[in-house]
């Protein structure tokens, strides 16, 4: 019984997520090689995505050393940069993604007080 209730709840949650199509996130994280900063940024953003955007996000990690031409295309200056391509508006987050609150507000997951 308890198990079923939990299942139902999860189902409802899944439906809820699917019912809001605008809330699908497409993110790109630009890093430069395997520096501690890059690693930290990957870990931090993955954690945030898993926690708040489970099942409705795409996260692409780009190593600019491998694809230098993308740097120009997306006007990437600072590293690491997280690019929120969707939902619009376009937004950039620079740094090692350690300030979770700021990112959540910036991603419109949490509203600013």
């Amino acid at each position: 019984m308890e198990k079923k209730a939990l299942k139902d709840e999860l189902k409802a949650l899944g439906k809820k997520i699917k019912a809001s199509p605008g809330k699908r996130y497409v993110l790109s994280l630009y890093i430069a090689g395997a520096t501690p900063k890059s690693t930290r940024a990957i870990m931090n953003i993955k954690k945030i995505c898993e926690e708040y955007l489970m099942g409705r996000y795409e996260l692409e990690v780009v190593d600019i050393y491998q694809q230098p031409e993308l740097v120009k295309e997306e006007q990437i200056i600072a590293i690491p940069t997280l690019l929120k391509k969707l939902p619009l508006p376009l937004r950039k987050f620079i740094g090692d993604m350690s300030k979770t609150e700021k990112i959540l507000v910036g991603l419109d997951i949490k509203t600013r007080k």
Binding site: P68, Q75, D96
Partner: protein, 576 residues
């Protein structure tokens, strides 16, 4: 990086320089910017930083076969291309040829959220990618300071910019970094702290509503450089920096002489005329024939088959030709032959620097051996004494250094300060001829004399200078008893003589009166003496008469007595 810093202090190792190809700048910097090092160009808005940097790149491609990358943080590529098209650069052609990459880096502050530590590796990768793709040797970052506005956390930025300059050096790139002028600092964000090799400052100076761009090299590590503020100009041919003076006076002097065009004037200079490559100043009051001396010199140059450039600032070409024909100088055939070129313009048409550049361009394209500048006085209307003088200095240096050009300047002066030229330019001149009015016997004549002539034994005589239908003639003047007197000097002399005459007349009159008085005194003395004499005479006469009477009486009495005594008749007795 081609050299370590220490090497520059050791003998034999000199700093390698990357020529900018900008007229004058390579001269001032002794060869260009430090190769493989960053150079900071600072200045206020609109001072020409971007043009400067772009010209460095364009010249690198066109003149020195060095490819370049231009990174703009301020203007989109299309805008840049359009702006430089008006300066005559086709930037698209360079980018199509893969000789140059122009890139626009734009950061929108409002889009960015900072979430912790970051670095500028993206910028590095971007720059590195561009540099490597065309093998660039030169790079411009215009203006990297924009990053300070776009990205927060100044501490990180500063560390990254420091790293960027290190990276540029490591890549061996000759870089130009531009920076906005700051308050009390060279740049607003203190970029000069990181760029320690070469700092150039651009500026505006406005005088009498005419703005002059100026350039100053604040620092150039490991190299000597000119420290002055050098005026520079941006026109359709790009930037020209004009050294105020040549750094050294090393122009070669020749002993070749050329005729003045006036035979008697030649005789005043040992019979040979001016030195070739010297500068001649002809000054005088209005209407004394300055332009005529100049035209005669131009004519004689053309007769020798040499080219002559006539810069006229008061009269038009046809006016000069017409006027000179009236004194027997026909310039027209020489113009047609292409030996004589007129350049007539109003001085106020543009600023001094513009004039200078125009003259530079004319001289380098026409290649004359004689340049006439008629007159320099009109330049005063567009600049102060000092700027005009410095312009003439630079002009003379250029003409003497490069081309061995003989230059003749005319200068209008006023009677009061005839020998004190308005701009104190005389010290720049090798030969100075003075024309002046001489007023004798109710008419004005022209007098000519040579005030100085460096290295030439010259006549000290004033000559009369005649403008006739047959041409110019120089003759000896008439000399008076002991001096030639003219104008006010003559008037003064006359007044003096008049006064002297008056004194002399008064003296004579006084002497005459004195004589009269003396005569009167003496005459009265004579009268007194005469009356004295007369009274004495009277007295004497009376006493004589009395004595006679007595004697008569005595003799009568004797005779009476004898008669009475009946004495013998004897002869009358002798008178006692």
């Amino acid at each position: 990086m081609t050299k370590t810093k220490g090497n520059t202090h050791l003998s034999g190792a000199t700093l390698i320089k990357s020529p900018t190809g900008i007229t004058g700048l390579d001269e001032v910097t002794g060869g260009g910017l430090p190769k493989g090092r960053p150079t900071l160009i600072a200045g206020s808005a609109g001072s020409g930083k971007t043009v400067f940097a772009m010209e460095f790149l364009v010249n690198g491609v066109t003149k020195f076969n060095e490819t370049g990358v231009f990174v703009s943080f301020e203007e989109p590529v299309e805008d840049l291309t359009k702006n430089f098209a008006s300066l005559g650069y086709n930037l698209n052609r360079f980018s199509d040829n893969k000789k140059m990459i122009i890139d626009y880096i734009h950061i929108e502050r409002s889009e960015i959220e900072v979430t912790g530590e970051y670095d500028l590796e993206g910028l590095f990768v971007r720059l590195g990618h561009m540099v490597d793709s065309i093998g660039a040797k030169r790079i411009v970052l215009d203006t990297i300071e924009s990053l300070f506005g776009a990205l927060p956390n100044e501490g990180i930025l500063r560390a990254e910019i420091r790293r960027l300059f290190r990276w540029l050096k490591l890549k061996g790139l000759t870089a130009i970094i531009t920076g906005e002028k700051g308050d009390g600092m060279i740049t607003r964000h203190g970029l000069e702290e990181y760029v320690s090799d070469c700092v150039i400052f651009l500026d505006h100076l406005v005088f009498e509503q005419v703005a002059t761009r100026r350039l100053r090299i604040i620092k150039y590590r490991g190299s000597s450089h000119g420290t002055n503020e050098y005026p520079f100009l941006i026109d359709k041919t790009g930037i020209s920096v004009l050294p105020v003076t040549s750094l050294e006076l090393i122009h070669k002097a020749t002993s070749e002489r050329i005729s003045t065009g006036i035979p008697r004037l030649d005789t005043m200079f040992e019979g040979k005329g001016y030195y070739r490559g010297s500068s001649i100043l002809v000054s005088g009051t209005a209407g004394t024939g300055k332009s005529s001396v100049a035209a005669k010199f131009a004519e004689s140059a053309c007769q020798r088959g040499e080219r002559c450039l006539y810069l006229a600032f008061e009269e038009s070409e046809s006016q000069i030709i017409r006027n000179m024909r009236s004194i027997g100088i026909n310039l027209e055939p020489w113009v047609k032959k292409g030996l004589l070129k007129f350049h007539a313009s109003r001085p106020t048409f543009c600023g001094l620097e513009m004039h200078l550049v125009q003259i530079h361009n004319l001289v380098s394209s026409f290649n004359p051996s004689v340049v006439i500048f008629d007159p320099i006085t009109t330049m005063m209307s567009i600049g102060s004494d000092n700027t005009v003088k410095s312009m003439l200095t630079r002009l003379l240096d250029y003409l003497k250094m490069k081309k061995l050009v003989t230059t003749l300047f005319t200068n209008l002066s006023h009677n009061e300060d005839l020998e004190k030229t308005t701009m104190a330019v005389s010290s720049l001149m090798d030969t100075w001829i003075l024309l002046r009015d001489i007023e004798i016997g109710g008419e004005r004549n022209r007098g000519l004399y040579v005030l100085k002539a460096r290295g030439i034994g010259h006549s000290n005589q004033i000559r009369e200078f005649l403008l006739t239908k047959e041409g110019i003639d120089v003759r000896d003047v008439y000399l008076g008893q002991d001096k030639v007197l003219t104008g006010s000097a003559r008037l003064a002399q006359e007044a003096e003589e008049k006064a002297e005459g008056l004194i002399r007349r008064q003296e004579t009159q006084w002497k005459q009166r004195e004589l009269e008085r003396k005569r009167e005194t003496i005459e009265s003395q004579i009268k007194v003496l005469r009356s004295q004499y007369e009274s004495e005479e009277e007295e004497l006469r009376i006493s004589i008469h009395q004595a006679k009477l007595i004697e008569e009486t005595i003799s009568r009495a004797t005779r009476e007595m004898a008669k009475s005594r009946k004495a013998d008749v004897i002869k009358p007795a002798k008178r006692k």
